[in-house]
């Protein structure tokens, strides 16, 4: 957060509605919180908002304050965060501004949340695993306690039906109480259909990069330098050390296993004081660390720049090309020497791009709803951390108050912070209106920096990159009420069950309609491969910009489809007035497993209201 907010133009001087912002409560369902963190001190905060009905039941030695106004736990012995994850996400959404935060001098700056004046209520459900029945209990409490936004950076590794997923169920009841839930899309990318948050009432968040990229260099031979990915806080003072390959420092493994530095393969005597090269990432680092190597260089087989772990020794991961350069050097000299430099940061002009690991659509449960909805910073984010927690997964003995982490977990609270920021300007807006404002004002993203052969486009980044500055003034919003969602559920589920969910006697209409007509801020249709198709989306928008305004539709045509918008001009006479329109998309010959993307933009001269349109085949 020392760079992510500034990267989006959301700097410290941005216009804020501070009084209203301090009335907003963000519910963080996660691994708990570290209450003593500087990010959660309550200097300058008054008492909790009057409507707050929650409690501070954080357990032994856990104290709340006027910033951290509530805490509950459903697992372990207290709401104290033992893993650091919940502290990181809470501080990203609503942490105080803390100057000179860094991770061993890396990513130094002011760490801050999206809404630093807002309050936080922590609900601990993970320690470290998270059970569905505890997640539901946290939603049950958070909704009743009176939070305004819920952020939950937790997910199943797959997409479950909305009635079989604790987050979908909890978020539905949050929505009917006026609370928007933001949820991480998942880290199972880049394969198709891996996004694990299908419900249209949730804002599902993909992870994207920012323009600050942390890299590290390996220098070997007579000054050959290659660039790797890791967060390396160790310095070897530029001194060169012997380089060895795993297969040459093992006494009890096959050559292949030793090359991978598999568990138990490295001989401590042979690696001491040396930098060991390993042909694999996962098992190699703990083995090199355990064996007492001075450092390690491992192969990043996936060419993935976004996989940038904190490691317990001087270490980095090289792409196959760079790794083979280094191996060639190793094989060409009798006494190979090299060093790993401490991480540094470089400016990435290609940012933002969707993280390699970020889960992709399409939505396997509701194919007409594009998921993820939006992208937000989720790569190499510095935020508060639990000083009790280990800083890496490798029995690292170091402890820090601020740490760099990557994941859709880090993206999700950025979106929650922006949602809260929008709410601070429009306290009476519905969850759908807030969600729409985030989606239709998002920066367009493209595929140029994504790699070939992986899912790209809207199924990677949703409507685009979150844009907090524009989000407070979207011009038009796509509203959706509880009744709209119920109508959508009617199209898929038994009426008796839908009635139980809605809690009233709302019945499903005889003509159930089409999910294509659900008033969503993006549009998707799944069609048969190679066949002609014609799909129609019915939408309505509400004027929240200027009372007297006229919007003209612009379509960014794709040669493969023909799109018509009727009417092409929407004229409003007053605020909150609603107008309906239809979008017809016709074409043919979409090959199996591909998509055609275009976009509809409503423009009134100052507001640009953008919706992606995706036609895809299974």
């Amino acid at each position: 957060t020392t760079r992510s907010w500034d990267f989006m133009g959301f700097d410290e001087k941005i216009n804020r509605n501070a009084t209203v912002e301090s009335d907003i409560i963000i519910g963080v369902i996660d691994s708990g919180i570290w209450p003593e963190s500087e990010s959660f001190t309550d200097v300058g905060f008054g008492p909790a908002p009057k409507r707050w009905k929650g409690a501070c039941k954080g357990g032994k030695n856990f104290t709340c304050n006027n910033k951290l106004i509530g805490a509950r736990y459903y697992t372990a012995e207290s709401a104290r965060d033992g893993t650091g994850h919940g502290t990181h996400t809470a501080s990203t959404a609503a942490g105080n501004g803390v100057k000179d935060a860094s991770f061993y001098g890396l990513a130094q700056g002011t760490a801050r949340g999206g809404v630093p004046s807002a309050r936080i209520a922590a609900y601990k459900v993970c320690a470290p695993t998270c059970m569905a029945h505890n997640i539901l209990a946290a939603f049950d409490d958070a909704i009743n306690d009176g939070v305004d936004i819920i952020t939950i950076s937790i997910g199943l590794g797959f997409m479950a039906d909305v009635y079989g997923d604790a987050i979908s169920i909890g978020a539905f009841h949050a929505m009917e109480n006026g609370i928007l839930t933001t949820n991480s899309a998942g880290n199972n990318g880049p394969s198709d259909g891996t996004v694990s948050s299908p419900a249209p009432w949730i804002l599902t968040v993909a992870a994207s990069s920012i323009d600050r990229r942390i890299i590290d260099k390996v220098v070997f031979g007579i000054g050959t330098t290659v660039v790797g990915n890791s967060v390396n806080s160790f310095t070897l003072n530029g001194t060169s050390f012997p380089l060895v390959h795993g297969k040459d420092v093992s006494s009890n493994c096959t050559e292949e296993d030793a090359g991978y530095c598999k568990e138990g393969c490295l001989d401590s005597q042979l690696v001491k004081g040396k930098i060991v090269l390993c042909d694999r990432y996962t098992s190699a680092i703990p083995e090199a660390y355990k064996a007492g190597a001075l450092g390690s260089v491992v192969l990043n087989f996936y060419n993935d720049d976004d996989l940038s772990l904190i490691l317990p020794l001087a270490a980095t991961a090289l792409h196959p090309k760079e790794y083979s350069v280094m191996m060639s050097y190793m094989n060409s000299t009798r006494d190979p020497q090299g060093t790993i430099l401490k991480s540094e940061y470089i400016k990435d002009p290609a940012a933002p791009h969707v993280a390699f690991f970020s889960s992709r659509g399409p939505n396997l449960i509701l194919p007409e709803i594009i998921k993820p909805d939006i992208s937000a910073p989720g790569v190499q984010i510095l935020a508060a951390y639990s000083p009790d927690a280990s800083i890496s997964e490798f029995e690292d003995k170091r402890h820090v108050k601020y740490k760099i982490m990557s994941g859709t977990s880090m993206a999700c609270p950025h979106a929650a912070g922006v949602a809260a920021y929008v709410k601070s300007f429009h306290p009476d807006w519905s969850p759908a209106a807030i969600k729409s404002s985030l989606m239709t004002t998002a920066w367009p993203m493209n595929d140029t920096s994504t790699k070939s052969n992986i899912s790209t486009g809207e199924f990677a980044y949703g409507s685009g990159h979150i844009n907090p500055v524009k989000a407070i003034n979207p011009g038009l919003v796509y509203e959706a009420s509880k009744e709209d969602y119920i109508r959508l559920l009617c199209m898929k589920y038994d009426e008796g069950k839908v009635r139980l969910v809605s809690g009233d006697n709302s019945t499903c209409p005889t003509d159930k309609g089409s999910p294509l007509d659900h008033n969503y801020p993006s549009m998707a249709a799944k069609v048969a491969p190679m066949n002609p198709f014609a799909v129609k989306f019915h939408r309505r928008v509400k004027n929240v910009g200027l009372a007297n305004s006229s919007y003209k539709a612009t379509i960014f045509q794709d040669s493969k489809v023909e799109i018509k918008v009727v009417p092409e001009i929407l004229s409003f006479k007053s605020l909150n007035e609603e107008k309906a329109f239809d979008v017809t998309v016709a074409g043919s010959g979409v090959p199996f497993g591909s998509q055609v993307s275009t976009q509809l933009v409503w423009f009134d001269g100052s507001h640009s209201v953008r919706s992606p349109i995706v036609v895809y085949t299974a």
Binding site: H133, L136, D141, E176, G407, S409, L500
Partner: protein
């Protein structure tokens, strides 16, 4: 009689809380009572959701889950799966 090994924490989702006078806990007990055999109710009920929506979590066998899923007043029954921090 089912042993504890046969049981898995499952969520029984009942939808919204009914309007008017309603005692969620006794309703949850009564639903559970209808399907369990020979076990104490208290030892099986894990959580009751009663503040913002309606449902409960209980340790159930496959057979009990199936019976519950067929009840008119039940929206869904599903195992309490493990979620991951992301």
């Amino acid at each position: 009689k089912a042993t504890s090994e046969d049981r898995e924490v499952s969520i029984v989702y009942l939808g919204s809380l009914p309007h008017g006078v309603y005692s969620p806990l006794s309703h949850h007990h009564s639903i559970l009572q209808r399907v369990i055999q020979g076990s104490s109710l208290e030892s099986l009920l894990v959580r009751s959701y009663k503040r913002s929506f309606n449902g409960f979590a209980a340790k159930l066998t496959d057979q009990e889950r199936e019976k519950l899923a067929n009840m008119k007043e039940v929206v869904s029954v599903f195992p309490s799966r493990t979620y991951q921090l992301q």
